[in-house]
Every structure is written in C-alpha cells, then in structure tokens.
C-alpha cells in the first residue's frame, strides 16, 4: 500500500499549495496541516475521530463553525476499505461528502443561501482541493473489489456516488405508506404520484396479488435527458440523480413522452401547496439549482430521490435515505450509494441472496441462490438505477385494486379526474 513518500505532500507541491492558500482569506498553515492529515486519515495512519479532535477547536476559531463532525465516515468501514474489502468508490464517495462540507466550513457556508454555495466552491477552493487531493489520491490507489461493487444496479464500477435503490417486491404488502410519505415530503399536488405502488395480478404468477413500488428509475442512460430541448432535465454529475431544473424547464413535456416508465407529472395548474409554504432547503440543491420539492406551474416534476436529503439539507442523518424508504415498515425499499458495497441496496441484495440459498449439494450446477432480480424494461437500454427483487410483471399483468386503496390513504390514483375538475373550476372564476 502507500508509503510515507506519497502520503506526505512533497516540499515543492507544498510550496504551491501554500501559495494557493495564501490567496484565500484563511489560515494557510491550518489548511496545509488539514490537507496533510486528511491524507493520513485515508492512509489509515490517523483515525477519523483523532482527525476531528485535533482540528475542531482551531476550525471553530477560524471559521466560527465546524460541521465536519456530523457525518464522520465510519472508521471501521474506512479501515476495511484500506484492507482491500472495500470498493474504489467507497473511500472517495465518503470523502466527497465529507470534504464538500469541509470546503463549506472553510467558507463559513450558509445553507439557507444557495448562491453562496457556488462562491464557496470558487473562493474556498484551494483549501478544499488540497484535502480532496489527499483523500482522492489514496482512494485511487486503493485496490478495487469487483465482486462487491455494483452488486445491484447495472454492475458498472464507478467512482463517487451513484444513488439507487433495491426494492424487494417479496417484502412489499401494498400498504401505500411510501406514497403518502412521498406526497407529504415533496408537497405534491393531488394525483402527482412520484412514488406509485402498483397492485397487479399476473396469470403467469399465480392467483395472488403482487405489488410494485415505482419511482423514477434515475436511468443512467436516460432518454428524458437526451430529449430535453433546454437541458432542464439533466443528470447531476456528482451522484447520478436525474433532476429537473425548475428555473429553466419550458414545460414542453418531451421528457414525459420519452420516458418509458410514465413517472413524470406535469404541473398543469396551480400547485396545491403554495411556494410560500416550502423552505428553500427543500428546493435548492447544493449547486444552487431549483430542483427539489414540487414543481411550480407549467413545469415538469418527478421523483428526485429526495435530493434535499442527499445534499444534507434535511440534516446529516438523512443523507442516504429517502422518505419512502423511511416510511416502509416492510423492509422493501433500500436506498443508498450503489458504488458502495456496504450501502443498504447492495447489502440487502447480498444478504437476501445469502438467505435464499439454493440446494447445490444435489444439483451442483444451480446458482447459489434462488433470488430473481430485474430492472423495469431492461431491454430499453435505459440502464435504471433501481433494481427489483422478485418477479417482473409480464405483458399479461394487469393492475388491480390492492388491499389498501389510494383513496383510503387520502391519495388520488387517476389524476385526470382532478385535472378535469380543475379545468371546470378555471372555466368559471379564478382558481
């Protein structure tokens, strides 16, 4: 593994870093030390906890805040990563999240102000970059682990974060709690079911009713981003989320037409929840773009994988969770970083497979487990980041009434009815 040579920043590089840091308003020595020790952390020479303790007081003194503590990467996982069990993405994924915040701390970031985030990156870049370089380089040198990375999803190995889900249909009992949670979390208008649970019967799968919770699939090769004329529908570079920029979208609905899954919900009229009742934290992401919560009138909306949570704006403990996952008491929805072998979607899939072992003593040619997985419309080549455990609905599958109806949960199934009412109301006086 790494030697001391490449952990310590060589003198002439250090000189350049010093110059870069000198250009910022902050303590140059502190920045350099932070960077050096950050590299030690990734090399396993220094524990995260020690790193935190060592600098806490000085950071608070310099920047009047220190929000590093809230999301310290688990030292054990990190050590495991160094030991060779972890994937390449493991270290750098955590590092990205942590260092983003470090950069923010350096700048005295105000989370309420999206604009300031951009200037953070600009002005405080030098200090943040030093540390990023330190962590990133070790991550890059660390050994990858092909079997674990990409256990779910498309199996590509990648750096950084790739948010995705494993949804276990065998666990889902159709209670619709996830739909309600999503509806409330994102202030959706009636019938805009970003999360939608099908109850269906399939003659090929026996008599019983099956369930399929459907989010946006956050396709890696998403047709919706290709067709958008103005680039409002886009894939966020840092973590693969497919989002809609509500400030740019012209409402042409081409994304909706091109999506094979029918997950888009246009805001045909005034949203049920007015803008004034929604915090900016829900709406503005870490790049300062308006992509979260329900869309304004005339603009396209769909499941965002709770982008506000992923950016830490709902609190650090909400990172890596979604509202639907939290609401699910049946352990059906597992959200997390697909590039991290220990993330909930990957771990669930692995553990579920291990629990469904096949009888290989009598039939040695069988595969190890009896678990079948699928992605929706895999043959479309959209490369979804949602993997389902269970049996895919066949062409003959038909949606049926589930044990819990949408109405019982205060939800609307067929949005057309709402829209027709709205149209009538609009025809009369102002709505």
């Amino acid at each position: 593994m790494s030697t001391d040579d490449d952990i310590d920043t060589p003198p002439d590089d250090e000189e350049r870093h010093r110059r870069l840091l000198d250009e910022t308003d902050y303590d140059t020595d502190l920045g350099l030390e932070l960077a050096r020790d950050a590299q030690r952390v990734t090399a396993g020479e220094l524990s995260e906890a020690a790193f935190y303790r060592r600098y806490h007081d000085r950071i608070v003194e310099e920047f009047e805040m220190d929000d590093r503590e809230i999301d310290l990467p688990d030292p054990d996982a990190l050590a495991a990563g160094e030991g060779g069990d972890g994937g390449v993405g493991d270290g750098s994924g955590d590092a990205g999240g942590f260092l983003d915040r470090l950069g923010d701390a350096l700048e005295g970031f105000d989370p309420d102000d999206g604009e300031s985030r951009r200037s953070v990156m600009k002005k405080g870049a030098a200090a943040g970059a030093l540390a990023l370089g330190g962590l990133g380089s070790t991550g890059g040198a660390g050994p990858g682990d092909g079997t674990a990375a990409g256990a779910a999803g498309s199996g590509e190995e990648g750096d950084g974060t790739r948010w995705g889900m494993t949804i276990n249909l065998n666990n889902c009992d159709g209670c619709l709690a996830c739909m309600v949670a999503c509806d409330q979390e994102h202030n959706l208008s009636r019938g805009a079911n970003w999360m939608y649970v099908f109850a269906f019967e399939d003659e090929n799968q026996g008599e019983e009713t099956n369930f399929l919770p459907r989010t946006c699939q956050h396709c890696t090769d998403s047709p919706c981003t290709k067709v958008c004329p103005v680039g409002a529908r886009h894939t966020r570079e840092e973590d693969g989320l497919v989002l809609t920029d509500y400030d740019i979208c012209i409402g042409c609905r081409y994304c909706e037409v091109s999506c094979p899954y029918g997950v888009n919900y246009f805001q045909w009229g005034e949203p049920d929840v007015p803008e004034s009742e929604i915090d900016d934290d829900h709406q503005i992401d870490d790049r300062g773009r308006w992509v979260g919560s329900r869309p304004p009138e005339g603009v396209m909306g769909k499941c965002t994988f709770c982008v506000d949570r992923q950016d830490g704006q709902m609190g650090e403990e909400k990172i890596g969770t979604t509202a639907c996952e939290e609401a699910c008491t049946m352990d059906a929805i597992h959200f997390g970083d697909l590039n991290d072998p220990e993330s909930p979607p990957n771990r669930h899939l692995r553990e579920y497979r291990e629990s469904q072992e096949n009888d290989r003593s009598d039939y040695p040619n069988r595969k190890e487990h009896t678990v079948s997985t699928f992605q929706l419309l895999e043959e479309r080549g959209t490369d979804p980041n949602v993997t389902f455990v269970g049996n895919a609905p066949s062409q003959d599958a038909r949606q049926v009434d589930g044990p819990v109806t949408y109405e019982e949960m205060g939800l609307t199934d067929n949005r057309k009815e709402v829209l027709d009412q709205g149209a009538e109301a609009a025809g009369g006086e102002t709505a």
Binding site: G191, N193, Y196, F198, F200, L212, P223, K226, V227, C228, P229, V230, G231, A232, I248, C249, I250, G251, C252, R253, Y254, E256, V257, S258, C259, P260, Y261, G262, V263, N264, Y265, F266, Q267, W268, G269, E270, E297, G298, V299, M300, L376, L377, R380, P393, A397, R398, Q399, D413, N414, R415, K416, E417, L419, D420, G422, A423, A426, G427, T430, A431
Partner: protein, 440 residues
Amino acid sequence: MSVDVTGVDRDTLVRPIRTVSTRYLAALSVALGMIGVWLFFYLQQLRHGLIVTNLADWGSGGGVPWGLYIGAFIWWVGIAHGGIILSAAVRLLGMDTYQPVARLAELLTIAALTCAGIFILIHVGRPDRLVTSVIPAWPTRVQWSPLMWDVTVITAYFVLTATYLGLTIRYDLHRLRNRLPNRLDPIYDVLLVGYSETEDAVVERMVWWIAFAIIIMAPLLLHGGVIPWLFALLPSMAGWAGGVQGPSFLSIALTSAVSGIIIVAAAFRYAYGWAELIPEAVFRGLGQWLGFFSLLFLWLQLQQVITGIFAAPTTLQHATEVKIATPLYWVAIGVVALAMLYVFAASLRPSLFSLPLLVALSVGVLAGTLIEKVLFVVEGLMHAHFDLYAGVPGAYTPSAVELSALVGTVGIVVLFFLVVSKVIPVVELHAIEDHGEVEG
C-alpha cells in the same frame, strides 16, 4: 402543359392593392373575430395554466400529455410545404404553368410556419421562457434534442423562404411602383434598398440556389426528417417508433400542402376575378398533384396498418387495432381517397372537372390530414409500451380552448393574406410578362 397568361395586363395584377370592397372588410372582420375567439380562450390558459386543456399525464394519470396542439403544429408545418413545391416546380424544373400561384404558395409557407410556431408557444407550460431558455441552451442541446433540431430547421426554413420572397419581390415592386399606393412608399423604399436593374440576373441565380437549398431541406429533412423523428426515435410509444414515419409524414405534408394552395389560389381567383390570371389549367395540374400525393399517403398508411396487425409486438398490434377501430381514422382515410378518386376520374374525363368541387375536396383533405395527425400523436401516446397502468390507454378529447386555437390560426392565415395582398403583388410579374420585357 404550359398556359399563356401573358395577355393579362399589369393593372389586373395590382387589382387587390388598389381596391377595398365591402366583401374585403367583411372577410377582415371574420378573420379578426376568429382570432378574437382564440385570444379569449388563450387568456384563460395563460391565467390558469394548461389545466384548462384536456391534456393530462400518461401513466397513473390516465391521460395524454400531447394532443391537438402538437397535431396542429405538424399539420401547419405540412401545409407550409406548398410554397416550396410550387417554387421549385417553377424555378428548378421550369414548370411555368404554376408561376401565377407560386408567390401565393410562398406566402402560405410564411403564414403556415407562423401558425406552427404559435402552436409551440401555446403548447408549452412556460411560454415566457421560450426564448430565454431555448437560445442559451441551443449550442449544447442541438447536439441531442430532436425538439431543438425542429426549432433549428423550422427557423432555417422560415428564413430561407422569407429571403426568397424578399429578393424576388424587388423586381416586381420596381416595375410596378407607379401603380402602387404612395402612402406605402416607406415600405417599398426599404424593400427596394439599393435596387438596380443590373442585379436581376444575379438575384435570379441567387434565388435558384435558395430554391435548391429549400427543396432539399424542407421536404426531406424537415417533414421527412426532424418532425417525424420527434416521434420515430422514441421506442417508449409503440405506435410512433420506426423508419416509416419519415416518408409517411412527408406524404401527408405534401397532400395537405397542395390542398392549401388550391384553396388560397381559388379564393383569390374568385375574389378578384382572376380567371384569366389563374386559369383552370393551373387547378387541373394542382389537382393531379393532389391525387398523386394522396396515393402516396394511402400507400404509406397501408404499410403501417399491415405491419401493425400481421405479427407485430403486442403493444404495436394493440395500437394498430385501436387505430383501425377508430371511426375518425376512416373518415380521414375516406376523404383523402375520395379526393384521389375524383381527380383521377377528372383527368380521364376532363368534363368531370369542377373547380368548386376540387376546392371542397381540398378542404376535406385538410380536415382529414389534421385528423390523422392528431390521432397519430394522441393514440401513439395512449399505447405506451409499459402498460401495467390501469390508466393506460388514457383518454383525451380536445377542449374548447384547444379547438379555439385552430380557429385562431386559420384566422391568422386569412388576415395575413388580406393584409399582404394590399401591400405587395401576390402574383409575380413574370407570370404575365416574359423575363426581360422590361419597361416602366
């Protein structure tokens, strides 16, 4: 088949500019009324949003997100192709018979493209961003988005056609200037800036190249290209995907384009007593084109139906079965077939020819092609490949707001011709005088 209209004098040519009849004023108020009806409804849409249309989300929502607006958009672009067919026939192929209606056809192109643009404007949820979002995104999104290709090609088509008109009109204006009203002088001064008779030969060559550029771009790459590709490239909708959409769209465009020209030309002939200037032979010829394009249209429909029902994938089969079970589809096919049969019969037996009948059939063809386009968009969206939803196939009937836009855009085309025909000669001087016969 060449018809000599060189006996017609220049006063006949400028007749529309120099007269204002009560009938004209009546037509003007009808056109303004039509536009007013639409504006009334459109105001509702601007106030309340697209909720006032009958559109909705596909999927769990049980609706279709694109409807009459998109169907009508394609339809108007299709009609716009009349201009290039006629200009190309005259300019590139030397078919002088159609010279008297060539400029009318070019004007129809401009008007129809304007209406197509209006449908885009009213289709989108945020019309206020149509420029501020589209222009900055153009350099990157034109690399990918089929909708951006459309924006690009339609702009190019519009600009090329208008340039063509702007250059060819100079010859006529210069020579007819003494017959044109003085109060419009500022307009003529601008249009004639820097004119000298020596430029005629150069301009003649330039407009030949414009016609050449448009004839490749407009039919082959616009209506046989980027417009069908809006749909053909999306495998998510069973009825849309596939290479046949290009030729099929083009056949529909050409059919409706010729119908449009027949109607406009007949209207001017009737209104200004231009039987001499636009003789019956022009309409007989246009009728034959209409018949030929209708034949292509029907043939390509047959291709789609037969591939859709023989051994197609389930969703396509279902979409096709629904299509051929829709009575309106057969109305569309029926009127086009009727027009085709009539013009072929009339060319075998010339005595069967009647201009009013041809105009009536052309109106029918325009209605038929509009129906086909709207059905194509809507039914395509109803039969998504992923049909686990109870809400698929969705339901859609155009609302009054949407229908009013059709009325409004027809009004805009009428208004456009009424105004333009008072300013510039809508028939080229070349139609009545051979080239070179230059005198003041």
